[in-house]
């Protein structure tokens, strides 16, 4: 880094175990946090609505999947379905109890999703690897079918869509058509910040270590006294909780209204991409991956126009898909451990710069 950590000695266990042990890192994180809060003052509506809000929500979903796949080693393709559970239960809750604070609604929706996640996580005790991945697709298809089929979930709306009703937090409108992008952004930001901190602490504690032991070698983990049943189901529960909250936010803070199509299998893959490109088993990676996967299409759409090439719409769309696929392969070849690993390498290099030897 530009700074040196030489001469900084840890004098207590507390300081040694801090999340950010180096003061400069703490300053950096603090600056990022303050900047993130101040963003609505500068960013325009397009940036907030089209990039920053989805970025925060996808980050939360990626975080959830990363806990399950990256830390506990259970490959899941049902993320879209779990996000749908969050969204639909939040919708049902807030229309049944309009007085309930929307943040509380999000949390309860998350808890409901956690319950559903546990149910669909049960097979993981017996089925492993790709067999499990395909089995989680059962959750994806079944849940989406259920929400499509049972009109009760959409309050018998003939259009089959759920719409975010206007709700306030501390007197500020945060959902519904009247809510400003800034207010929705700040809500999403606050939730993501809290949950990222929680996840960070979760994975370095007892729970996270148990997850990683299960991931690395489940039989060995069992032998040293980790209970696979509890550990795996907890991973499914926590991961689904995150995905559920993200799903609720997806409709309430980002889309405004949605039908089941928004939660189809493509969403599952998108979130999985974010986790893999960002880095399996990394909290930071979930954010980097979400940013990358979100920005690449925006970049690819705008790049040809920026350099003065005007492509036909269909061709541009096909090229975009192609380049996106090629980029993913390229990134996997260049750095299979993801963007988080790149960041780590960069940090290590900069630490010794300019005298690497």
């Amino acid at each position: 880094m530009i700074y040196r950590e030489a001469g900084q000695f840890k004098t207590s266990y507390a300081s040694d175990q801090a999340i950010f042990p180096i003061p400069q890192d703490r300053v950096f994180v603090g600056v990022v946090c303050v900047a993130a809060v101040l963003v609505p003052l500068f960013a325009n509506e397009y940036w907030l609505q089209a990039i920053l809000i989805p970025f925060l929500i996808y980050s939360l979903a990626a975080l959830g999947l990363n806990l399950l796949t990256g830390y506990a080693g259970q490959l899941s393709l049902g993320t879209g379905g779990f996000m749908a559970v969050g969204a639909y239960s939040a919708f049902k809750l807030t229309s049944a109890f309009p007085g309930l604070d929307i943040v509380v609604v999000f949390l309860i929706a998350g808890l409901i999703t956690a319950g559903v996640g546990v149910v669909f996580g049960l097979p993981s005790l017996r089925i492993k690897g790709f067999y499990l991945a395909v089995a989680t697709l059962a959750a994806q298809f079944f849940l989406i079918w259920l929400f499509n089929r049972v009109a009760w979930f959409v309050n018998y709306a003939p259009s089959g869509t759920i719409t975010a009703p206007p709700r306030t937090v501390l007197g500020v409108m945060v959902t519904g058509p009247q809510a400003t992008a800034g207010a929705r952004y700040l809500t999403a930001l606050a939730l993501v910040a809290v949950f990222a901190l929680l996840a960070k602490n979760l994975v370095r504690g007892r729970v996270g270590r148990a997850w990683m032991a299960i991931r690395d070698r489940d039989i060995a983990a069992e032998i040293i006294g980790i209970r696979p049943l509890r550990t795996k189901l907890l991973a499914f529960a926590v991961s689904s909780f995150y995905c559920g909250v993200a799903g609720a936010e997806f409709v309430f803070l980002y889309l405004g209204s949605a039908e089941t199509l928004a939660f189809d299998i493509a969403l599952s893959f998108l979130v999985l991409f974010m986790v893999i490109i960002g880095g399996l088993g990394s909290i930071l990676g979930s954010f980097l991956g979400a940013g990358f996967i979100l920005l690449v299409p925006v970049f690819l759409t705008n790049a040809p126009r920026a350099v003065g090439i005007d492509l036909p719409v269909a061709l541009a769309k096909q090229l975009e898909v192609m380049v996106f696929g090629a980029l993913i392969i390229f990134f996997l070849i260049a750095e299979p451990s993801g963007l988080a690993r790149l960041w780590q390498i960069a940090k290590e290099k900069l630490r010794l710069w300019p005298f690497p030897h």
Partner: protein, 310 residues
């Protein structure tokens, strides 16, 4: 009580008209074999390289698009078929060189993700080359039904079933009797041991991806003739996945038997019990069925027994 009645009533329906039940059964077997054709491609690649090739569905689409695209441009059918085969083999070479070789020794999930990347790429590439609109593929077999021993049978589905049978026979002979087939089985057993006795891994991969490409072409022709060559063809990969895990990821006969079980189960459930839950259950029923089987045999019906060591 109503629900109970709904659950039981179809059973008496079956007893009342056994001929119709057999028709449903035959339809299910035929549909299942079509799934098998796609699942077969997955199994071949997984067996030989341990790669869970998500792009198999798009390979089916791509192969069919190439064939139809060539035929639309006035290339006679046999030549177009040969050219499509050549294209699929070229594709196998390219994939081995560009995707697989740099990713040797990576974790399975990374390779899986790479094939999803490939999936996107081929999707865009195929559409760019041949256009996105629905194309008709005429293989000279009408999509009509005839009566055989009193049972309504679809000609096209019969042809597909025959194709699947022939393909599996050829593949079985290829695997068991030829030199390359033996090498493939050796690689499937143990990469490193195969390498150490002098089997060229790279060649084997090209061969196996080529064969998967050819299987994709066959599946593409059959599916294309049935429902037209269009983008949604790539989604049949999702229908093949439950077949795959039901039969076992590493078993060729498993793909066939799994396909039949899924096809028949799906048809029967849809026809007899579908109305009870409001229909359109074909999207998830296969998965739930496969899940049920997996709970009893976690490695699929014919998959290799998973031996876990610490």
């Amino acid at each position: 009580m109503d629900v109970l009645h709904g659950l039981v009533a179809p059973l008496s329906d079956i007893a009342a008209s056994p001929l119709f039940f057999v028709e449903v059964l035959v339809g299910g077997i035929a549909a299942g074999l079509l799934y098998s054709l796609v699942a077969l491609g997955f199994v071949l690649i997984f067996k030989a390289s341990g790669v869970f090739n998500f792009a198999q569905g798009v390979m089916v689409l791509f192969a069919a698009l190439t064939l139809v695209g060539l035929m639309d441009r006035g290339v006679p059918a046999p030549l177009a078929l040969l050219l499509s085969i050549a294209v699929m083999i070229a594709l196998a070479f390219a994939i081995e060189r560009v995707v697989l070789r740099p990713l040797v020794n990576q974790e399975a999930i990374i390779l899986f993700m790479a094939t999803i990347g490939l999936n996107f790429f081929l999707e865009g590439f195929g559409e760019m080359l041949w256009g996105a609109n629905v194309k008709r593929l005429d293989v000279g077999i009408p999509d009509t039904s005839f009566r055989m021993a009193g049972i309504l049978v679809n000609r096209l589905e019969m042809a597909a079933a025959l194709t699947a049978a022939v393909l599996v026979t050829i593949l079985a002979v290829f695997f068991q009797k030829t030199r390359i087939g033996r090498a493939l089985r050796a690689v499937a057993d143990d990469h490193e041991a195969a390498l150490s006795v002098g089997i060229p891994l790279k060649t084997i991969w090209v061969v196996v991806w080529s064969v998967a490409g050819l299987v994709a072409l066959a599946a593409g022709v059959m599916w294309g003739a049935k429902s037209g060559v269009q983008f949604s063809l790539s989604l049949i990969a999702l229908k093949a996945l439950p077949v795959l895990i039901l039969g076992g990821l590493t078993s060729v006969p498993g793909a066939i038997v799994g396909g039949i079980i899924i096809g028949v189960g799906e048809k029967i459930a849809e026809v007899y019990w579908g109305p009870l839950v409001g229909g359109a259950i074909e999207n998830w029923f296969a998965y739930v069925m496969a899940l049920g089987f997996l709970l009893i045999r976690p490695q699929g019906l014919f998959g290799e027994k998973i031996i876990e060591r610490v």
